[in-house]
Point group: C2
Chain length 351, copies 2
């Protein structure tokens, strides 16, 4: 009755086959395999021989069902080709495999709907932790539904982890690990201002996107601190893609905002900006300075090297797994620091 009984008449080999062939009980085979219980050497070798001979592997589902499967952490990621969060995933993965946890990466495609569906799926899979990576749109409905998932994950002995996005409102059983978006943006903007720049075009990211909001806030605060006016004309929202950034810059150039620097919402956006500038015959940083956010490896490889805000992505991942795997749950909200990495893409301005 198996799906395919086609060629081989031999159905899937089970623990019973092993037991029969080795002349022992299934219980004994189970004990040998999980080495949970003492078994005589004689039987042990007899069982192992048959296991190898028949190339037997226990069915993981049956195991989990019986309550013995491995712990699993599910990582829900926007896009697998995004460098920043790939690093978080790596951090999680490292800590997970060190603990013999299985880690699974699922791709959401940036769709909140699909993200919700996957959280649910992982709940069915009995994941010990479900990690949501990256910023998200600030939608009320979404918050509500996610809060419900958090609760049911919790009551199933599992845990929801928010990485790189603000905590859910209210008393929700979830762990949040953020990095300081606002402060990073504040420091970076201050850096530009201290170098003599006064008009900074900013591409914070999509409107209503949590990271974009926080970065814009930091930008505004820095202006205020320096006693400079906030000019909404210098703010251009748009997705985190080099293509859209490219377009935005070219468009901004046509306007009459005589900016001397561009603060890109991410490093990828910064590359788009730099290309647009170059295309317009402008040089970076001689004509226009450019800075980014993330500090992915790409930032170092650009020329000029990109001055950007370093985010400890891998550390975030590690911390995420440490927090959920620790028996006593010390913290459920951590904010990691960021800092500016100075390279060659900013020119000091004589004021």
């Amino acid at each position: 009755m198996g799906r395919q009984k086609a060629a081989a008449d031999e159905a899937r080999i089970t623990i019973r086959d092993i037991a029969a062939r080795a002349g022992v009980s299934v219980a004994t085979v189970s004990r040998v395999l999980s080495s949970s219980h003492p078994v005589s050497d004689d039987l042990r070798t007899r069982v192992m021989d048959v296991v190898r001979e028949l190339d037997y592997v226990p069915n993981a589902h049956a195991r989990s069902l019986a309550g013995a499967g491995p712990k699993t952490v599910a990582i829900l990621i926007d896009s697998i080709t995004g460098a920043a969060f790939a690093h978080v995933a790596r951090g999680i993965e490292e800590e997970a495999s060190a603990r013999d946890w299985l880690s699974l990466v699922c791709v959401t495609g940036g769709d909140p709907e699909r993200e919700l569906a996957l959280v649910n799926l992982m709940r069915q899979q009995g994941a010990a932790a479900v990690v949501l990576l990256g910023g998200t749109y600030d939608l009320a409905d979404y918050q509500l539904r996610m809060a419900r998932f958090a609760k049911s994950l919790d009551s199933a002995g599992s845990r929801l982890v928010l990485c790189g996005r603000p905590p859910l409102q209210g008393d929700v059983p979830a762990t949040t690990i953020e990095y300081d978006n606002a402060n990073g943006a504040f420091t970076m903007t201050s850096h530009l201002l201290s170098m003599g720049h006064r008009r900074v075009l900013i591409l914070p990211g999509p409107e209503n996107f949590t990271t974009a909001q926080a970065r814009l806030e930091g930008y505004r605060n820095a202006l205020t601190t320096y006693g400079l006016p906030y000019d909404a004309g210098l703010v251009r929202h748009g997705r985190y893609e080099d293509g859209v950034a490219h377009r935005i810059v070219l468009d901004a150039l046509r306007g009459k905002n005589d900016f001397t620097a561009v603060f890109a919402g991410t490093d990828v956006v910064a590359t788009g900006v730099m290309e647009g500038l170059r295309e317009a015959g402008l040089s970076v940083p001689d004509d226009i300075s450019v800075v980014g956010f993330d500090d992915i490896p790409l930032a170092r490889h650009l020329s000029p090297g990109l001055t950007t805000v370093h985010v400890p992505y891998e550390e975030m991942g590690r911390m995420a797994l440490r927090l959920v795997s620790s028996p006593r749950r010390d913290k459920d909200h951590v904010v990691l620091g960021t800092h500016v990495v100075v390279r060659q893409s900013v020119r000091p301005l004589a004021v």
Copy 2:
């Protein structure tokens, strides 16, 4: 007992709880949930109400055990931060989710041992397909063991897929999707030669690594075709990392191989090369030309834009899933084409 019975005394909610609360049999609940069988509207709504009320989700393991779980494709990837294979993974993922397959990414860390272990693990999980991504070391023992896994996956109704590496030797039940490494390298080398370059330093990658071997072969063939001698002194093996590439180039510069171009084994290696060159006060392409292999987005963003060999990574992934999910298995070995993408990193030489 259950892992945590702590606060809530209510164990995990099961289908039986739903049945009891809704006053129906478990069979009926199952039917409502899987909508496999007709159920009266009355009962259906009664069940669904309880499901929502109790926030019930079926246990995926139990489901799979009963033979009803979703198909799963496991993607085994070297490093999640590697751009090239992230694109393959995306291709697979897209096709998978279009078919409502679940796709799981596992990270091997480039360790053949761990890769083998993960294949085994995925076999236990009952994955419908296990996709191995990227080149690998050409080890006899590894070949043998992988062939055994291929067979047992096959007899379990599953399938092993090799992506970007040569097929296993002998009559092994596996699907292979390669791209033409040798030909890509041949064409790229020919391109350099046709531009007047005569001494091309090549960094093919790690020795005994399948892709490196094939690329080096293409390089040699091109030289032969042009009637040029093969100089082993121009070949430098090393891992696919910008750091090691950087070191290798600096070292090669100290030697007396007066090369005019560098053929980097990957785009990432090319960035390392370019940095090394720049550090040595050399300009690309004015002093030395540089080309890569992969055509990841980075190649476009470098300045000068990197001339490189385009590999259809995403297409590979799509094809992989199409091949295994198609009922009739038409092909079990596909070789995709590659082509040169010309950008600005090569200078024509007056001969």
